[in-house]
Symmetry: D2
Subunit: 383 residues, 4 copies
């Protein structure tokens, strides 16, 4: 989104914004070109002198970002004006050796994978923060009898901590899957114009492997038109966002007046109302639920791009980058909001006791305590 | 999207970016507050002096946008920090009269409707440009026999202009529906905290009507939790984007090598390849097809928000603003790209003739010419 | 869905199932072929004798539906095996005159439009039932002060009937729009192989007009690859389903224990729990909310088909029929469930009064009563 | 879908229909109840006599399916009328012991998981068939120079087999992921009314483990409101469908007249046109592309259900069953269609040679052959 005011509605973190901003995109693009040249020296596709010149130019590159953005918009791809600008700063030989054997999508996909790895690391930290806090709360309240609620109606009692443990394990599993998916699918892209690694003296596989090693990505044969890994990333982000939304849904219901069993912590400047100054809105939950409302449609957009055309398609991959970025922004906003909520979660014992007493369903919480342990593991390996 | 480099993939226009940027959002928010105060003077809810002071403050308002954006992100709504900042510049009475009887969502929804009207006007102009150009081409080529293609296989002949006429009428009808939907649903929002227009001395209907008149929006009872109009706007934008995508799909197929019946115009700096300098990519079509790949999922996000909670919901409407803005950005990018394509469309007669001759399906184009006239109307009222 | 047991989860009505079942599909297909022949007699494309023979065969047609379904699945279209079977029962001349100038999609689209008109009539009746019941309830409770709730927190008071009036007007407007959309877009399809109305002696427009008149559809130039009308129908169904979901969301929240302001009526056999016999689940709301959860993704599928290929596409329109049918089934199930709920709605005054007193927000319901009248109109023209 | 004629458009296999039909649903439901009773005998929650009686009743159960379906539709869940019918056939003790400690969703989720395992096995077999055939073709044509195409324009040459190898590996990886996801997430559900395993004398974990073993599902703590596994299944099905759609997209483009590099095999009764008897439509591709058009929206519906309410939600899980079933039906139809296509794939060498010669891009296929081997592995471990 273009407006930071409007954007606050799909709230996100500054750290995640920085992963996908212009400076980061450019930094990764420069790293790609420099590392490609170095990899090509290593297997003797280009001269060391070229690589040094390219690395120097990449290190010293200064972009007029608005002008570059205009040119990129016109060209339909970052690579063309970017490479042209970079080439203009090089001698003939180095200019010819720059971006050698690579195509626009090699640059675009590799940059996106580098950004996804950074995004994944940010999300992992937030998820861990949430899981740690929820795990402690789940244990603390494991045996506190509370009304269970199904189809929004009072049902049998549960241990209040079981509910929290279910949030924790859902987020923990989703976070682990996101890590796995990014580990597996963050692959270097290096196929050249038609995905054959032409123009690298038959040493393209070695170049790609060396490039991957330098960029800390997985080596891979070209995957220009094979986007299952991208779809898997989108789906995994969607499950993270959805599971955070589940916690938010529950908490927003539990914090209703007349129920009041749990509340978001009070945060200065958050949750107010422009019309009712006494009101305390579940704004953290709102952030997570808004993200959860948007994610399903966004990831559908990535899946719609799977049947792309031939060696490199005409619409799918061009749409994926912005969607993955948006999903990461939403995931970060949601995770940060729920991390704050998890760490400051207010459980109101008195209301829980009173509601249970009004529900007249007894106090048999079954195996709630045991299930909490099954779910979260014994005390030692909490997260 | 936060990166203008990445953003070029879901390409859009600077004019549409300006409709939804921070400055525009703030300008409309100030207009809302000033007009609300004036409307409340008109029906004697507040004093003229307050309204004058409010108007003066709105006129002179200077925001530290990054700081305001931070506060908005924290608060979960624009209104709270915005009103607080504005109030700080007013005397006690005027401060109390500012935003009187209004709630955060009154401001947010009204601003969004003002932006949608501006967006609609921009899109209408681009759509008209496309329809005019396509209508002329359709007539020019109405009787040129060409291979018809169904399920991607050669079928019976058509008049080449019939294909273009089908694009034209699809875009024309979608554009007319978008105009209609915005005309009908661009309503002022003024309900106050719980949608009852409390706090306006029982003269809320008159205030809302006067406010609507000043802002050139439709008067309306409060619609905080009734979002069908927003969904209709999203759907109508989706049909525009989809129909432009249809034209782009066809043209990308027609411009394949070995078929070559029609081409995008050559535009300096557009359509190149970073690996193959001779190549001519259908970049305008790519822009429109990428937009068409994203729109369905985006609008699904709006529809998912319809079942919002009670008087004002917790996730739906907070997600709508960014989605509508994104749909408008995609629609503008697509329309601008296809306007350029329509105006410079290259129809290659020789290839059309050769392909038809190779297809061995005769040259009976049926009622193609007549259908072009049925669709586009007689020569006078072209658009 | 293939299982009537599983199917109960996306519950629907038998009447709507009958609109889209095999018998109905076949009945409309026969009506199309018979009417096409008659229309072609009227403008002298075929002989009256042929048309009589075709009408007789259509009238006497008996299908082995499982065998036909197998053949249809193989062929990828209903028309081919259906026409082949029908032709086998005719003399040579009549066989040649059958389906003359028509293509598979002419049959498929026209049948779908006939089904959409029937579906629209069923839905209109249910929607009217809901609106009538809600309108009466809204008036009855217009001035009963109740807690308003925003972001799931107690806010200022509202007249309880205002909430109901908002449901009523949302459903009324969505129903009116669905009627409008079906009226506008239920068009005959008759374009022949490539959409040129070839093979009808230049009298195709008259044939299409006559065919439309016989089938009570709108006349139209061919629209094989122009699917905006279908998308508009899907969107309009989606808004109906979403607005019914909104009513269900609210009621499910209001019927929570400890809130208990309104309840679904008790219906024998509905709303029970297999584990807790005392429990009273909001099963009508569940039906409507499940439908609302499914609709956004379904309609995204229709929008994804807009950029179809050339004269008749390869995937979009083939996917639309099942999706529109599914949306109609969901809409019918939702509308029937909420009609029962609206007619039997239990408003619990005592709980409303108690909750308001606990909320300590006063009893100023602002202009609630007036807004109910604005929304619903004066007493006379209730619906 | 209710019409087998309409249903043919989202074509599927009879085997997959049988996985989700009424008889199968009932068979699994009976197996659940019988196995639950046996598991409860094993850990001494109920008597062996009860379990024997329950097993006998389950074995002899005969349902009036239409009547049961009506009752299920009314109740909003299969379990209530099903258990009631079954109980009526038992003595008091056995009736009380039937379904002991279980809730509706325990039955519904466990049945769904049993169906997903069967569906997964069917899909695995079809996917293997495709991969085997494509692997052979990829090797056969690995070194045949052909025009590569990017953004639908002629690009550098590729080995024709590389394109096929990319299809093969995409489908192979998606199939492997689907297997993995089903293996991991096909878990027994046994939580009772509020997910606490109450009413099983504190031996619920053992009961659940024994039940899982009998039904060949994974043991698990209750996961009533933790739906990430379901979402992962939907996503994995979506990637399978999307990757099959990719193969179909490419083949439909390659089989265009004037390009004609590869064709679907001719199958009697398939691919005809009701208007042009000579025409050969890529009907297998149509099936796969229609499925790919529908899948993204369907899986968005599953993801939308993640933020479900408290211990068991009101709309999400009720919508999941039909959506997963629909995705399986689409996946099966797509896989069967593409298996036939892969096994009979016609590669037209002459057209490939001619197109390459016309493209004037040389014949340097880079490392195509090597990439085929990288992707498919050395000759031995082909699939």
């Amino acid at each position: 989104m273009t407006s930071s005011l409007l954007r606050t509605r799909p709230a996100t973190t500054n750290a995640m914004l920085a992963v996908f901003d212009d400076a980061a995109t450019l930094r990764h693009a420069l790293a790609f070109e420099a590392a490609l040249a170095q990899a090509q020296v290593a297997v003797q596709v280009i001269d060391e002198e070229s690589a040094r010149a390219i690395a120097a130019s990449c290190g010293a590159f200064e972009a007029d970002i608005p002008a570059l953005a205009e040119a990129v918009a016109l060209a339909g791809t970052l690579a063309i004006p970017f490479i042209k600008t970079l080439r203009a700063q090089l001698t003939d030989t180095a200019a010819r050796d720059l971006h050698r054997g690579a195509t626009s999508q090699d640059l675009a996909d590799t940059v996106l994978m580098l950004q996804m790895k950074e995004a994944g690391a940010l999300l992992a930290a937030e998820h861990a923060r949430i899981v740690t806090a929820l795990t402690a709360s789940a244990r603390q309240y494991a045996s506190l009898p509370a009304v269970g609620r199904t189809l929004l109606q009072d049902a049998c009692p549960i241990g209040f901590g079981l509910r929290i443990a279910q949030w924790a394990v859902a987020i923990r599993e989703a976070a682990a899957d996101l890590d796995r998916v990014i580990q597996v699918h963050a692959k270097v892209q290096l196929g050249g114009a038609a995905g054959t690694r032409a123009g690298m003296h038959g040493r393209g596989e070695a170049v790609a492997a060396d490039l991957a090693r330098r960029l800390k990505l997985n080596p891979s044969p070209p995957w220009h038109a094979r986007r299952g890994g991208i779809a898997a990333m989108a789906a995994s982000l969607g499950i993270c966002i959805g599971n955070l939304g589940k916690m938010a849904r529950d908490l927003s219901l539990l914090s209703q007046n007349r129920i009041g069993e749990a509340l978001e912590p009070l945060i200065e400047g958050r949750g107010g109302s422009s019309a009712m100054s006494h009101k305390r809105n579940p704004t953290g939950c709102q952030v997570a639920l808004s993200a959860a409302a948007r994610a399903p449609g966004l990831l559908a957009g990535v899946f719609a791009g799977l049947p792309c055309e031939l060696e490199r398609g005409l619409c799918g991959w061009q749409a994926e980058g912005p969607i993955l970025a948006e999903l990461c922004l939403l995931a970060a906003g949601s995770a940060e909001a729920m991390a704050g909520v998890a760490q400051g979660l207010l459980v109101i014992d008195a209301a829980i006791v009173e509601n249970l007493s009004n529900a007249a369903v007894g106090a048999d919480i079954g195996e709630s305590v045991q299930i909490v342990t099954e779910i979260l593991g014994p005390l030692r390996d909490a997260t």
